[in-house]
Amino acid sequence: MNNSRLNWKIGGEAGYGILTVGEIFSKAFVKGGYHVVAHPEYPSLIRGGHNTFQLRIDAQRVRAPILPVDVLVALNAETIVMDLNDVVPGGVLLYDAKSFNVAPQRGDIALCDVPLTKLVTDLHLPKVAANVAAMGASVALIGYELRLLNAAIQDVFGDKGEKIVEQNVIAAKAGHDYVTRSYPEPYKGGLRPLKGPNRMTLTGNDAICMGAFKAGMKFIAIYPMTPTHNVMTYIAAHAREYGVAMVQPEDEIAGINMAIGASFAGARSMVATSGGGFSLMVEGLGLAGATENPLVVVDGQRPGPSTGLATRTAQGDLRFCLHASQGDFFRVVIAPGDPKECFFETFRAFNLADALQTPVLILTDKHLGTSFFTSEPFETDGLNVDRGLLLTEGAVPADYSRYEATSSGVSARTVPGVEGGMFNSNSDEHDERGYFSEDAPVVAKLVDKRCRKFFTAATLLDGIKYHGNDSSGTVLVGWGSTKGAILDAMDYLRANDDVELGFLQVLFMSPFPSQLVKEHLEGRQVILIENNRGAQLGSLIKEHAQIRPDHTILRYDGRAFNADELYQKIKEVL
């Protein structure tokens, strides 16, 4: 009998390419028709810290990590110390016993000793190639096919030239052949390639970048900050191809203000940062709101307060994003839950920013932004760019008023260069033409105009997604990156306990879908699941839908929920 799933983890010192190894290994299984969820964990240190990459492989769709692991690959002693307990009884530790002097203290697992370093140095390959040898060894141990690993190596190292690819292929083979010889029995009968559709392996941040390119983003300012540093790398790699200006500003304040300038000048524009950088953007956010310049802002959350845990995950910025900056004005806040939503919602974010002429925030986090998931290619055919009320040359009416107090709250915009469309995009309170005004009725009128966008937005959007059983007595509620763990936990409940729950995913935090949330939650047992301490979505539900969750499952130690852990926690309160 073949196996149809496997949980694999590799650990080693920082700086030894664990992330690249993980990416290659993920691709090798996606190429073989599997779904994967893969996430790196590493401290905010360049070297010396303990880095791991964990990969869940399954023939069925899976969306979140789980524990325990079947196979642990230890590239250093620390991995044995820290991660050995994560191995399932009957699982395997793959390690190079001679390389480090910590003896694995588990009698209930198999030991697969492979002289990784020797294998590669004997072949005159650099020592770091031991990582790749470990992948080859893993492939053999799992009974998978080496050619798929080689194909993944080609994909990831192709840009670096044939020589590099070749060396890595040799290293992989060395590991593979050693295990085939020494441990001929594959773990649990082996994992064979499946006939599956072609799927992508990508992170949430990759998908955001693709969505932005598709939407015609032309300007992006990013000051480096984990976990959006990979947005920078991705955009940079494709900036020329897509004709996009990416600027690394001197600070986040400059970044958002540049983006507002670019938007005012007519380019779709964006910034991406994390909480600390977003803190610095708060004044600019208000500027965009007051002047009604479209803008897309990505906040990749990580644990706060303050610098906190730079390379870990959290959902602690929700309320902050909803209320950042002085005075009342409307903003859109979207929380995608997987790469597909990252792509489509980012695309939509640009349309909404133009349609509503106000900032649109996309809330992600380290887990969603930097973990790898599988996804079918995105269907882009129906996606239409809509720039909203944007007047072009010749279309400007004679009595043009930029800030006309329309019933939708949105008024027609011009951009510099358009004849007859001149106006003052004014951060001071102003009249309908943009000229400053302190007249009480005018002030109230313009405040109302801008706030009416809330209702206009609400008509454009549903704001929620409902998954699973429509009529279950208990409903789970969550947002953003916990979506994967929640859906997987529901799969466990269905499979193991024959319990079919419902899950209300809140996608839009502003405009908050109060009515829909109320309808879905009222009269049911509500279990709130969040990756923060403040139960921030819970507070929104209390505020807008007058409903108190019956149970709250929170995790706030910098880690994402494991699907199996969440499953257990849900069972405890059911």
């Binding site: 072609n198 992508m200 392996t201 990508l202 990759d206 693709m210 390119f213 598709k214 939407a215 015609g216 032309k218 300007f219 900036a239 020329r240 897509y242 004709g243 996009v244 200006a245 600027v247 500003p249 001197e250 600070d251 304040i253 400059a254 970044g255 203000n257 540049m258 983006a259 507002i260 300038g261 670019a262 938007s263 005012f264 000048a265 007519g266 380019a267 524009s269 004044e283 500027l287 002047t291 290619p377 882009t380 239409n384 760019v385 951009v415 510099p416 260069g417 358009v418 004849e419 007859g420 469309g421 001149m422 106006f423 003052n424 995009s425 004014n426 951060s427 001071d428 943009g434 000229y435």
Partner: protein, 286 residues
């Protein structure tokens, strides 16, 4: 030479105090625009918050009345998105040399092709008279009864060190001179900083009209070599009794916006975005 009234905003008149140095800057600016026959709709002014920034209300062009201290980043964004525009900043000394000093120097080292006019009244005008970064050391004010403890920021040498390719100083009271200076600054391709002496008649009791008139002298264009960096750095440091006005420095250098412009044939703002293909991106993830 174009019509100066093209830049009027009908039915409005500046609310500055009678005798304020901003009137001279406003007048010079409209004249410089007219001399260059700038199209109002192809010009964008970005201004900060202050008496200085209020100038944007009385000039008929595209304006982004931004934040205190942030006009230079905004202006860079405008220029990068549409390099066909003439982009000009009007901001105060508090704005540019206090809250926004970092932005000024970073824009200078990028050599973005924007022109920054600083209304330097050596005081915070709109917030009613606190010392600014260019207020003289030792002078006493309501909020600094012991006198200002810090040395003033010297913007022109700082900008030169940072890499600005056009550096000048003007004075609101030398209007013809200022008009010509503004024209040159706007025409210059690259980052231009012009610090403009602007008496604040209401709050600055030190740097009055008389003070300015007593201290400024015009650089002799026929003798002064504005392409000499060493000389410029020296001149820019002249303070004390005699303060030079005119173009202190000018140099040719590639601009940041041109580097980006090379990515696209047309300005970013005009690039078609209706049907962008990301299938090739997706293929890389398969």
């Amino acid at each position: 030479m174009g019509d100066i009234h093209r830049y009027d905003v009908p039915g409005t008149w500046p609310t500055w105090c009678l005798g304020c140095g901003n009137f001279g800057i406003w007048n010079a600016m409209k004249n410089a625009y007219a001399n260059m026959d700038l199209s109002p709709h192809k010009t964008a002014i970005v201004c900060g918050i202050g008496c200085s920034g209020n100038l944007s209300y009385w000039i008929n062009t595209y304006v982004l009345h931004s934040l205190h201290g942030r006009s230079i980043p905004v202006a860079q964004g405008v220029k990068l998105a549409n390099s066909d525009l003439t982009v000009i900043v009007h901001a105060g000394d508090g704005d540019t040399y206090g809250e926004g000093l970092g932005h000024l120097l970073h824009a200078a080292r990028r050599n973005v092709d924007i022109t920054v006019f600083v209304h330097d009244n050596q005081i915070y005008g709109l917030t009613t008279g606190q010392p600014s970064p260019t207020t003289f050391k030792g002078t006493k004010w309501k909020v600094a009864p012991e006198g200002v403890f810090a040395s003033p920021v010297t913007p022109l040498p700082l900008a030169l060190i940072a890499g600005a390719t056009f550096v000048g100083r003007g004075f609101s009271g030398e209007n013809k001179h200022l008009i010509a200076l503004m024209e040159k600054a706007i025409r210059h391709k690259g980052f231009s900083l012009v610090d403009i002496g602007q008496p604040c008649v209401t709050f600055n009791y030190v740097n009055t009209w008389k003070w300015w008139n007593d201290h400024v002298y015009k650089l002799d264009e026929t003798k002064y070599d504005r392409f000499d960096y060493e000389l410029a750095l020296k001149k820019a440091q002249e303070a004390g009794d005699k303060i030079p006005i005119g173009v202190l420095y000018e140099a040719e250098a590639p601009t940041f916006d041109d580097a980006y412009r090379s990515l696209n044939a047309e300005a970013l703002a005009y690039a078609p975005i209706n049907d962008i293909d990301v299938k090739k991106l997706m293929a890389r993830h398969l």
